[in-house]
Subunit: 635 residues, 2 copies
């Protein structure tokens, strides 16, 4: 084991072993750990399995694991010796020379380091006769040996050349084990390194592992530091992803395997160890525009709605119906639905988002290196880009080209003109929407980690702590992502329930998508007043909300009355940050807009008002469409 | 508050406040706690809300809660005083005279019992001027006051007549607080008692609460003891269900409210305090029969399959095609699918299950008292019964009527006769299936707790510890239920994922159902040999499984060869219990049979082999139907 190799354990993917191995090889791995249960379920002989791996160019670096082995009372101790011989038989058939013992979880396990050492010595001795090396891994939920320093102390004492330690970042971080000390280990005694990550959730290790354990970069731990310490020891062997999480099993195996390569590339690139290193990509500066597709009626409704919010048409396509509407830096590209150009996606939908970047070509290169589907300039708006959440598109708009929305705007192929259309403004310094504040990506549960990784690895976004939010019919889970400088903010939401608004959105669309866009203003009251006067269909918030609000936030009554007059919701943080927001009715039942004002550094999204908003939306739909209650039973 | 009342908090249900209150009243509650967010989302005025509650005959016993109130630094302390006045305003509008403070969770909360006491005194003093009483509740995830004895110590010291304690079984049990000591509290200082339960899972309190907190009887805690201690204090006021769980919100509100009444009836009946008490119901003795409906082709296949397993037709309906097949005590009632009698259920399906009971009429009375839908003798097989999982039927078969399957069997309307049909047996003492071992109920996640409660409350079943099991495409959650004496065993399974076999089953059926029936034999090898010879289509287990098995259990090779010859799976416990099981191919892609042999007290279900079995079933389906891979993406 002389040069660094990337591997993934088959237990990290769903499907049959054959499907898994194919996906792993196609994603670009050259090594794999095979999990005991996957071998047991393989439809073929050992010989066929060995041949399959060889054909796919995959080296089987380990068969894993040997469970509940060491320090058992008799007769289990003797039986364990016997069964380990059968395990070695299998390893020989498959031509694999590394396995490992996970520290004992059995209630019968004896708390006796001497006995553990004796059993491991004996095991290593027998393994050595077959040229097999045995690792010992501290499992965070084991009976006695939960921490790697304990495991190491035993391995060191045993001193057998065929016995080493297996280090796993999950167990290490979840138990808050010392990471830096790893660098003092003799590298030849580290037989295998396993990598995984997890979000910052308080949970017992096993529950965290089963439901939330993820790939490096998909969680919140500093896996970089772990790898750094490993490398500092002089270790230069296999780094293997081992993630036993139900949601990774739900995803298609190719999807998970590709995320695995992406995760490792991102991790090792951050450490300066990827050769060649990833193209820089450059900093994401701001939103450039939002792209919406609609059929004619919806388009008319949309334009009316944007008009009441103070948006004005800025450019128009010389031939097509496409128009760019703007208010301050907020820009909406409205496109007429067209079967040919918009594929099978149903209108109306928010189908794309442009972001201002330092160098679109550099970001495009990074996109390719991270294995994502690059969109060429011919494939839509004339910008480079990448396929994004639920088949939407993310466009890279060069900052370098001064005024990408200057007149004329060549990129969008639009003919730009100052518009004279629209309503009269109330004053010269009319209140206005200044920019896009954030938007919401709704994804199925199994896609959550995928998008966290991509926002981080491709765009260098930062991630806020995970939040769980009750909606009237369940609970959803949200991670907020933001560009450096926080000008581009994305709320990434998912759910496990089937009746949350998040779930309804996914079902109605058939896949992930963008649920809403929030615009920023610096005078929400004035804007709401004008917009309402001009006929904006705002979402009606129940008056009861404004009875409860003073009991939540000690607001003076005249302030509450103003909020109520315009259906504005409110939140306040302990350090005085304030958030004001109102919603429009939904467009075609598919998406909606929000207008927000942030004061004194409020950085959230008004989650406290989510259930109120969702109930109001349901009421709105029922009221408008006279539909029946959504109380259908779901399975 | 002089007489015991049952209440439920509106946060325990999904939907709008109006929907919740209607469901709560219709289920039979006379009292309700209203949650702050539900008021805020109410589509109407305070006056209308008050009138709605009055019209429904619901007393609003509390508005809840006041959060993050006590021991805050300025300016929050002053602001909290102000906002509490607005809360009291609202309470007056609604005519409610009880509220409570949940112990502070804010990171700013000051650790100072004196300050907490001072703030609560001041709050109670102001409340008292309006005739409002204030409770103080220790929240298990609060910053400082996590345990009721801490909260009580503060309330006692304050000594204000308008300040009392609120006791909640969830926080008490999750923090392992002393339960018996509650009996020493002065009853007039207990302002409210909240009840909930939870399964035995290791998890931090907040995560447990959000995802798993349930009604009394749906979890594993001894809520009886809690109530007993409360009553021993002399308290005789409101007992309120407060369960803030995402899955209860997903369920229809009427469903949850009815479970609430059922839960309280069961709980107080166990304490001898329900008037009138529940009819005994009597002990469930054994399986009586399994009812299957199929169309002609499937029926033929089924009969062939049962024949190869040694079942023989025992009775036949004089007019219809119905037949009762049996082997030992295992009996299968086969019915020809008939649009009229079988409603809209699609054939083939396992549509019912008969159980032997002490007194069907007593159990029928208990069924009615627990608010379940009783089936009269005319509605199917001629037995009393109850609507069961996913619209299946559970029939009550009297033990008292000697030989319910005697000749002739009047109940089933079948004409019984010894059959001369079928294959020749190999020997006089031929191996055979002796009885039904267990069956699997698969339910949507939100129905899980409902069925646990009903199995316990109606049938006095016991519940094993919760188990999480990986399947090839995710994870499912299982609770095993068993009658006293363990003759009737049910594995109750659910899943949150969308690609597990559990989820596929639910989607294919459109609702909950019975996935498989396992038969018991005392000589599985002999039975498998004969059945296979007679053409039984068994599920093929990959040979790899038999390569891995010796490494799992140290089995001698001749034993492994025998297992492999008949596709038998194997498990063994630490104390030597052994489990042997094989599966049939599925019938019409809808359900399948299992044959099991248990040795030396093995009490489980071979969960270790689940992924192997599911993979083999998928392979079987693909092989037989040449279908494409199930890798479609799901949202």
């Amino acid at each position: 084991m002389n040069s660094m190799q990337w591997s993934i354990a088959t237990c990290s993917l769903g499907g049959s072993l054959e499907e898994k191995l194919i996906a792993i090889a196609q994603a670009g791995f050259q090594a794999v750990e095979i999990y005991e249960e996957d071998i047991a379920g393989f439809m073929g002989t050992s010989k066929e399995l060995r041949a399959l791996a060889e054909d796919l160019g995959l080296k089987i670096v380990a068969l894993q694991p040997i469970r509940d082995y060491e320090a058992m009372p008799e007769p289990h101790r003797t039986q364990n010796r016997e069964r380990s011989e059968r395990w070695f038989d299998l390893m020989e058939e498959l031509g694999v020379n590394l396995t490992y013992v996970c520290s004992n979880t059995s209630p019968l396990a004896i708390k006796d380091p001497e006995l553990i050492a004796a059993d491991l010595y004996e095991l290593a001795e027998r393994a050595s006769k077959r040229g097999i090396r045995v690792g010992y891994e501290a499992l965070s939920w084991a009976r006695w040996v939960k921490d790697w320093p304990q495991a190491w102390e035993i391995v060191r004492k045993v001193g057998h050349p065929f016995l080493g330690i297996v280090l796993d970042s999950f167990h290490c971080f979840v138990r808050r084990n010392p990471v830096q000390d790893i660098s003092h280990l003799p590298p030849e005694k580290i037989f295998l390194v396993q990598l995984s990550d997890a979000p910052q959730l308080e949970m017992d290790p096993k529950a965290l592992s089963r439901h939330h354990r993820v790939m490096p970069g998909q969680g919140d731990w500093e896996i970089k530091n772990f790898v750094y310490s490993i490398l500092a020891s002089g270790y230069n062997g296999v780094f293997s992803l081992e993630i036993f999480n139900e949601w990774l099993r739900e995803a298609p195996p190719a999807f998970v395997a590709e995320d695995g390569i992406r995760s490792l590339k991102y991790l090792f690139d951050q450490l300066g160890l990827l050769v060649p290193s990833l193209p820089q990509g450059g900093r994401v500066q701001d939103f450039a525009f939002i792209e919406i597709v609609a059929e004619e009626d919806d388009l008319r409704e949309l334009k009316f709605l944007l008009d009441t919010l103070g948006f004005r048409p800025e450019c128009r396509h010389p031939v097509l119906e496409d128009e760019l509407w703007s208010s301050g830096k907020a820009r909406i590209l409205l496109r007429l639905f067209d079967d040919e150009s918009t594929s099978s996606r149903e209108a109306p939908s928010i189908v794309g988002m442009g972001i201002e970047v330092g160098s679109s070509s550099s970001l495009a290169a990074r996109t390719r290196e991270l294995g994502l589907t690059l969109l060429t300039k011919n494939s839509g708006t004339g910008f480079l880009g990448v396929e994004w959440v639920g088949g939407t598109k993310l466009y890279f708009c060069d900052l370098a080209v001064e005024g990408i929305y200057g007149f004329p705007n060549l990129h969008l192929g639009l003919h730009c003109t100052r518009s004279s259309r629209g309503i009269e403004r109330g004053s010269r310094h009319s209140p206005s929407i200044t920019r896009v504040d954030h938007l919401t990506n709704i994804v199925p549960r199994w896609e959550l980690y995928h998008w966290i990784l991509i926002y981080k690895a491709l765009l260098a976004f930062e991630v806020d702590a995970p939040v769980e939010i009750f909606d009237p019919y369940g609970l959803f889970y949200s991670r907020s992502l933001r560009s450096r400088g926080s000008l581009v903010r994305i709320a990434l939401n998912t759910t496990e329930g089937l009746r949350t608004h998040t779930s309804h959105f996914l079902r109605s669309l058939g896949h992930a998508g963008i649920e809403h866009v929030a615009f920023l203003t610096d005078d929400i009251f004035h804007l709401a007043e004008l917009s309402t006067k001009n006929g904006l269909p705002t979402l009606r918030i129940p008056s009861s909300y404004y009875r409860v609000l003073p009991a939540r936030f000690n607001l003076p009554s005249h302030e509450v009355e103003r909020l109520e007059a315009f259906n504005i919701l409110y939140d306040k943080t302990l350090d005085g940050g304030e958030f004001f927001h109102f919603y429009t009715s939904s467009v075609g039942g598919r998406f909606f807009f929000e207008v927000v004002e942030r004061r004194k550094g409020y950085a959230g999204y008004g989650a406290v008002n989510t259930a109120i908003r969702v109930n109001a939306q349901l009421y709105d739909v029922r009221f408008r469409e006279k539909e029946s209650s959504p109380n259908e039973r779901l399975v």
